[in-house]
């Protein structure tokens, strides 16, 4: 079948444009530097476009696109890949059980709107303080809405490992929130 390049590209761009913000913010939040993030994203999009013939219409384009993006991120930074391979067996940190700062945390839970209003600028610093593995898993699950199974496939990890990364990153984020709340006198 001789479908013209023009139509194929139009189709690709249409699918892509629906996810442009997702792809951009994921890349930016993982890589952090805007210029590098844009370079990596462009490479990922080009390589997906080259392989667009293999995309099965009707399947999840966002997931398909993210698999290219994650590969490019790993290519651009060997350290990320390495960290995923050195899976930490200590499960550690569970959101609820853990938090030794429980009392301070409770006051955040009780007044979320005041807290988030005041902490707005610090949310990104909290994310920055997570390890790349924790950051990626959290972003993929919570911000981009992928399932555990999809994340496990992206990162080539067992589902259980994805779950422990996720639980650790959520616990770490909350710990950091408590630290900021202390610093700013929101809680004692």
């Amino acid at each position: 079948m001789q479908e013209s390049h023009f139509d194929r590209k139009k189709e690709f761009v249409a699918l892509l444009s629906a996810h442009r913000d997702s792809l951009y913010r994921f890349c930016l939040h993982v890589i952090w530097d805007k210029n590098s993030a844009e370079d990596v994203l462009q490479e990922a999009i080009l390589s997906a476009y080259k392989n667009f013939g293999h995309f099965q219409p009707g399947t999840n384009f966002k997931a398909w696109m993210f698999s290219f993006l994650i590969n490019k991120i790993f290519d651009s930074n060997k350290r990320f890949k390495k960290e995923f391979q050195q899976v930490n067996s200590s499960q550690g940190l569970d959101i609820v059980e853990h938090l030794e700062k429980e009392e301070a945390y409770i006051s955040i839970l009780e007044n979320p709107s005041v807290f988030f209003e005041r902490m707005d600028a610090r949310i990104k610093s909290a994310l920055l303080a997570l390890k790349p593995t924790e950051r990626m898993v959290f972003l993929l699950r919570s911000v981009e809405g992928f399932t555990y199974k999809e994340i496990a496939q992206f990162l080539d990890l067992p589902i259980g490992t994805v779950m422990s990364h996720l639980s650790r990153s959520r616990a770490r984020l909350r710990e950091l929130l408590v630290d900021y709340a202390r610093e700013t006198g929101f809680v004692r």
Binding site: I31, D33, L46, Y49, D75, L127, L130, K131, Y148, M163
Partner: protein
């Protein structure tokens, strides 16, 4: 189900990833336990607010334009390749294969021939052309925080007779290398300093040979620029500048 057990499932509960049996157990527990049901709702609220904050980031239109341009540029050679394959008679399959392979190799070449020194030079060039911005407040992602050299960067002032200004820095991830990119001016000439972990350096052998020969210090002439390097055990600090920056570079070793 006890409260402690139910709370272990908070994550998969929030993510709708519970199996049917556990889901029923949790729902039943939440129906009768006010403490847990309150806590689960609160946690979901926190999560929702975090996510909302992080979703605020949008792709700028300029970035989208660049992507569209690159897709357009990619299409032209691609079309030629297809037409060529159509024109060649089926009898000369080996020739077609050879031609396609050539195209394949040719298409791949630019990425691979780029050595790290060229990449660093390119990044310094981008800074000079103001294509990349350097933030004065140096904040580093977690994966950089083990680099002690970043915590003790040479500061602005007169160093060995050179007027040094620290302008700022950023993490970078380019091609096969990543590290920290710090920009200074030395005697009013911009100088990009790149801090690279040795374990991440792909061309380490070549760099190491140069560094060993120069007892931990090496200079490579790049035409209008020079690349100078200093070996600091775990990291190598590379400098790209048109200025002679040995003094600034040695200041890194004193940290």
């Amino acid at each position: 189900m006890r409260c402690q057990d139910s709370r272990r499932y908070l994550n998969p509960y929030m993510d709708s990833e519970l199996d049917a049996k556990t889901c029923t157990d949790i729902t039943n527990h939440l129906a009768v336990c006010e403490a847990c049901s309150k806590r689960f709702a609160q946690e979901q609220e926190i999560e929702k607010r975090l996510v909302k904050r992080l979703q605020r980031e949008k792709m700028p239109d300029e970035s989208w334009e660049v992507i569209l341009e690159r897709l357009n540029a990619y299409d032209s050679p691609g079309r030629r390749r297809v037409r060529l394959a159509w024109l060649v008679p089926a009898a000369v399959v080996p020739v077609v294969t050879a031609v396609l392979m050539l195209f394949f190799l040719w298409g791949k070449a630019p990425d691979n021939t780029n050595s790290w020194s060229a990449t660093l030079q390119e990044m310094h060039g981008k800074y000079l052309k103001q294509e990349i911005s350097i933030s004065p407040g140096l904040s580093w992602p977690q994966e950089f925080q083990g680099l002690t050299v970043l915590e003790h960067l040479p500061q602005s002032g007169v160093i060995g007779g050179h007027d040094v200004q620290l302008l700022g820095g950023r993490p970078f991830y380019a091609k096969d290398i990543h590290g920290a990119h710090i920009v200074y001016t030395c005697c009013n000439t911009p100088a990009s300093m790149f801090i690279l972990r040795k374990e991440d350096m792909r061309d380490l052998k070549r760099a190491q040979r140069l560094l060993d020969k120069g007892k931990g210090f090496a200079v490579v002439d790049l035409g209008n620029m020079r690349l100078s390097m200093i070996d600091l055990k775990e990291v190598v600090v590379c400098c790209i500048s048109s200025h002679e920056t040995n003094t600034l570079l040695t200041a890194f070793s004193r940290t």
